[in-house]
């Protein structure tokens, strides 16, 4: 065995170490994506798009036939939700008018949220069991940059752009273990942290940690981005609280957060390239 590895292993080890250092250095010194990854991304984008198109077509057909009864139930539930939302909308209309009147009386500036969106198609859902990423068909040539926020058509947060190539970008999904976002509880205004967790990632969930001691989270509480630090825009919905648990050492509590997005069903998303919020 010793002879085998001394005969074959040393040269291979040297080449492996050199390649590993090269790949790591290229990745470390790049602000968007390493030059080699960028090139491979550009070359593989058409193939990914083709594969995504074929699998998407099969998935559509499967869902069309498999989910009919579920769709009927969902339709009924949505009708009930719509009725409730119509009632809320009437109340909201009244509140908006009252709010406008009060702002005029107090001479307050109007709140404004300007987002610059870029629509993108999902080329690939990562098939890795260790990370959760999406590959989109937009890149630096469309003005996309690292740390841009990606949202669904309903405005729910999907993830953060972590790598950008010429015509592609990689998005780290909200449930990935590397996620760490400043957040707040909509009902109470408490500032918390939303972070990925390996065990919860397998169930499409993430953790809400650093809960202030006086915070009493309720199931269904909305968790939004806090916008603190200016990295990401504020008030983008991350998800709702599913349950509250005590951590392993029994000292602190954390909440399990259920994102409002079905990551596996995403085909079209929106990248927030730039934003201005006046509050």
């Amino acid at each position: 065995m010793k002879h085998f590895f001394s005969k074959y292993g040393v040269l291979l080890l040297v080449v492996t170490v050199l390649l590993a250092v090269l790949l790591s250095a290229l990745s470390y010194f790049s602000a968007t994506s390493s030059i080699l990854r960028n090139a491979m991304g550009v070359v593989s984008t058409p193939f990914r798009a083709a594969a995504s198109g074929v699998t998407g077509w099969f998935e559509d057909k499967r869902r069309y036939y498999a989910d009919y009864s579920a769709l009927v139930e969902e339709n009924q539930a949505l009708r009930e939700e719509l009725a409730a939302l119509r009632s809320d909308e009437q109340q909201a209309q009244h509140d908006r008018e009252e709010n406008k009147l009060l702002r005029e009386l107090l001479d307050l500036r109007e709140q404004r949220r300007d987002f610059v969106f870029e629509s993108a198609k999902v080329l690939e859902h990562s098939a890795s069991n260790w990370t959760r990423t999406l590959t989109l068909n937009r890149g630096t040539s469309h003005g996309v940059a690292v740390n841009n926020v990606v949202v669904s058509s309903e405005g729910y947060m999907i993830g953060i752009v972590t790598e950008v190539g010429l015509n592609w970008c990689a998005v780290q999904e909200l449930v990935d273990t590397d996620t760490e976002i400043g957040a707040l509880v909509f009902r109470t205004g408490d500032v918390v942290i939303a972070e990925g967790d390996f065990a919860l990632m397998q169930k499409n969930r993430l953790k809400v940690t650093y809960l202030p001691p006086e915070t009493a989270l309720l199931v269904g509480d909305y968790i939004l981005t806090s916008g603190l630090g200016g990295y990401y825009p504020s008030n983008i919905t991350l998800g709702t609280v599913e349950r509250v648990e005590t951590d392993d050492n029994g000292l602190a509590q954390y909440a399990v957060l259920a994102p409002l997005v079905d990551f596996d069903a995403l085909t079209e998303v929106f990248i927030i390239k730039d934003y201005e919020i006046v509050e």
Partner: protein, 168 residues
């Protein structure tokens, strides 16, 4: 003894076959999760080829595959597959030349071994950076390995046929 032209044709064909296998896998099983895990084909191809071919050639193929995977797939660190595939190719080659005769059983063992190398590096990385629970990681790794190894009967005949066609 193969001429340079034969060697080029052989490895071009093997690379094309590997890409074709990956493409077919992506089309048929790409987005499918079984028992909560996605199957992963590259370790199978790397392990089987390393067990069939000469040690240097198998290791170089594994290095190439590793670099390609690191450049195309999302990974926990930039050289994950390069390191894991190169080391596993060496181990697979040793196993095939000294312990188990190349064949279906050997392909199954080397595939599991290659997964072992990848998963150990992944688990170490996750444990150090995210303090992920060991039991949870092990469960995912074992499910991924066991289910992906079910694809050995599809890969082994193709790669063995190419090996025999160009070598014997």
């Amino acid at each position: 003894m193969l001429t340079r032209r034969d060697i080029i044709i052989k490895w071009t064909t093997i690379c094309a076959a590997a890409l074709l296998l990956q493409l077919m896998f992506s089309l048929l099983l790409g987005g499918v999760a079984i028992l909560g895990v996605h199957l992963f084909l590259p370790p199978l191809i790397v392990g089987i080829i390393a067990s069939l071919e000469d040690t240097h050639a198998g290791a170089l193929f594994a290095l190439g595959c590793g670099v390609l995977c690191d450049l195309v797939l999302p990974g926990l660190f930039p050289c994950l597959y390069t390191v894991a595939f190169a080391l596993s190719a060496l181990a697979c080659s040793y196993l095939a030349k000294n312990v188990v005769q190349p064949g279906p059983l050997c392909s199954l063992i080397v595939s599991a071994l290659t997964f072992g190398f990848v998963d150990v590096l992944v688990m170490l990385s996750l444990a150090l950076t995210d303090h992920a629970p060991f039991v949870g990681m092990l469960s995912v790794a074992l499910r991924e390995m066991a289910l992906s190894c079910l694809l050995v009967p599809a890969c082994h005949p193709v790669l063995t046929y190419l090996h025999k066609k160009f070598t014997l």
